[in-house]
């Protein structure tokens, strides 16, 4: 009995009032991930947009439905917004980077808010959320888009004002990426901040054979913003990544580039 209470108290330090995402202010407020955009001569970003709300009805809505896309730069400052009319039962693959022409940053975040929130969401006291899919073209060398889905219910919107749903952890947490990093590939890791506080994030690279730290990099991320960490040390061997922060879950987007083989891939932790 005492052991069980002790275990619960111990776990409570990590879970009490530390949800992955808080409830939005109103059931009529849609939720979105904070997705990552990249744009430059080498990068194009796309998003597949369709009316999620229409899935929850036997009859398609006749009134116009749309999605608002809000863009932030890497410092978390809102830089643009765009409203896209959604076609009934159709997917629109939108080139996100085309809305960011002239933007000096080459990466940042964006959120997608749907206008169509069906009544059954309200009845079940649930919130409609857009979790992605983003896709990227790198180096424009072929037609293929590389897909990745979102990884956090990060942000909501009310009366055209967005607000974040993440909370800070009481204790510092380690997110250990379960991926074997090697010197035959290059990597870029992007972490977003979905809390209202600036977050300090430390990327630690550890040698797999010895468990010793090879390198550590520290970043400060503003709310709505993101940081990009690359491993640019010429290191022979396999290594892994631990991300320490007060984010409840610091899951990175991982961009992976072959050195000996010429490929690009993206996934999330």
């Amino acid at each position: 009995m005492i052991k069980t209470i002790y275990k619960k108290l111990k776990r409570g330090l990590w879970t009490y009032k530390q949800p992955l995402s808080a409830k939005p202010k109103s059931l009529h407020n849609p939720v979105s991930d904070l997705f990552v955009w990249r744009q430059s001569d080498k990068w194009k970003t796309y998003f597949d947009l369709y009316d999620i709300g229409s899935f929850y009805s036997q009859i398609a809505k006749t009134k116009e439905v749309n999605a608002k896309i809000v863009f932030y730069n890497q410092s978390g400052k809102k830089i643009n917004e765009h409203t896209v009319k959604l076609k009934i039962n159709q997917n629109s693959c939108i080139e996100i980077s085309s809305f960011l022409k002239g933007e000096k940053d080459s990466y940042g975040t964006f959120a997608v808010f749907h206008s169509n929130i069906p009544d059954n969401f309200i009845e079940h006291k649930s919130y409609l959320t857009e979790r992605g899919f983003v896709s990227y073209k790198y180096n424009n060398n072929n037609q293929l888009r590389h897909y990745v889905h979102g990884n956090s219910d990060a942000i909501s919107i009310s009366n055209n004002i967005t607000y974040l749903l993440g909370v800070s952890s009481i204790l510092k947490r380690d997110y250990k990426l379960q991926f074997n990093l090697t010197n035959t590939e290059n990597y870029e890791f992007i972490v977003i901040n979905y809390t209202n506080k600036q977050q300090k994030v430390i990327f630690k690279f550890l040698d797999v054979a010895t468990d010793k730290e090879i390198s550590a990099k520290e970043y400060f991320i503003n709310p709505n913003g993101c940081c990009l960490c690359n491993f640019d040390i010429n290191y022979i061997g396999n290594f892994r990544l631990t991300i320490s922060s007060k984010l409840v879950m610091a899951r990175p987007f991982v961009f992976r580039f072959g050195i000996t083989k010429n490929f690009f891939d993206v996934f999330h932790g």
Binding site: F55, L144, Y147, R173, Q178
Partner: protein, 265 residues
């Protein structure tokens, strides 16, 4: 729940799975152990498990299907890490001490590589699905282009080792017509070529099953594998957060079951 990590297969590609013997966070699993690396597969009557090695704490191991020459051809190979030895033969999917985490789940890197250089992976895991479940899935992944080819990999894992023959239905984007019905088998890795299904670029692929649950993975190759893209669909329950999201999910399934029944009748 005891997770399994499937090994993938796709045309012109070889599957790999990298298992990791360290927890993805520092607070859910306090103590770790050296573990057995297992491969589990079904012959249609029994589950078989074979230890292929041991994995020390904080280590990773890459498993390639081509290295598993003991496997029958076209088998769905499930890798796993266990503290105890799994039974070499059993009539129910074996399991071991649960060391699973939730935030995030304990995952492996599951991917495909091509001889032409392409490599792609995602962080994933698989559990046994109920045999009486159905599936509804919305996928935007179909990419069109003269040098692109796309396949759906449908992975079903059930506790029973039986191979059940059933169907996967591809609906049109309005959900009012079956484009094609494809045979699929439980405890198999079902590979379906998508290019010939006549979907338009603006169509969503809507997948429906009546009596099987699985993970739909979409792989697209550029020039037979110079580049690869791989992603899974979201389960529709993830369109909602908080509240009675599972009740809402049941409602969604009911709406689509009615649509589907109307097509069939």
């Amino acid at each position: 729940m005891y997770p399994f990590y499937p090994l993938l297969r796709a045309p012109n590609c070889e599957g790999f799975t990298v298992v990791h013997n360290y927890a993805p966070n520092n607070w859910e699993v306090r103590k770790n152990y050296e573990k057995y690396i297992n491969i589990t597969w079904s012959d249609g009557s029994y589950w078989h498990s074979k230890i292929i090695g041991t994995l020390g704490k904080n280590k990773s191991f890459k498993i390639k299907e081509k290295d598993l020459n003991f496997l029958p051809k076209n088998t769905l190979a499930l890798s796993s890490l266990s503290i105890n030895k799994l039974p070499s033969e059993s009539d129910i999917l074996p399991d071991d001490i649960d060391m699973q985490t939730n935030l995030p789940e304990w995952r492996a890197s599951i991917g495909l590589e091509s001889k032409l250089g392409g490599s792609t992976s995602f962080q994933g895991e698989g559990y046994a699905f109920p045999t009486n479940g159905s599936l509804l899935s919305f996928a935007p992944f179909l990419q069109h282009g003269k040098d692109l080819s796309s396949h759906l990999i449908f992975i079903s894992i059930e506790k029973s080792p039986l191979f059940r023959n059933t169907s996967l239905f591809f609906l049109n984007t309005y959900g009012n017509k079956i484009k094609i019905e494809k045979p699929i088998i439980s405890n198999h890795l079902n590979i379906i070529k998508l290019d010939e299904l006549d979907y338009d670029p603006s169509d969503l692929i809507i997948l429906v099953t009546k009596n099987i649950v699985g993970i739909p993975l979409f792989v697209t190759a550029y020039k037979k594998g110079e580049e690869l893209s791989l992603e899974h669909t979201h389960p529709p329950a993830s369109f909602a957060i908080h509240g009675d999201r599972w009740g809402l999910h049941r409602e969604l399934k009911k709406i689509w079951a009615e649509k589907f029944n109307n097509i069939e009748s």
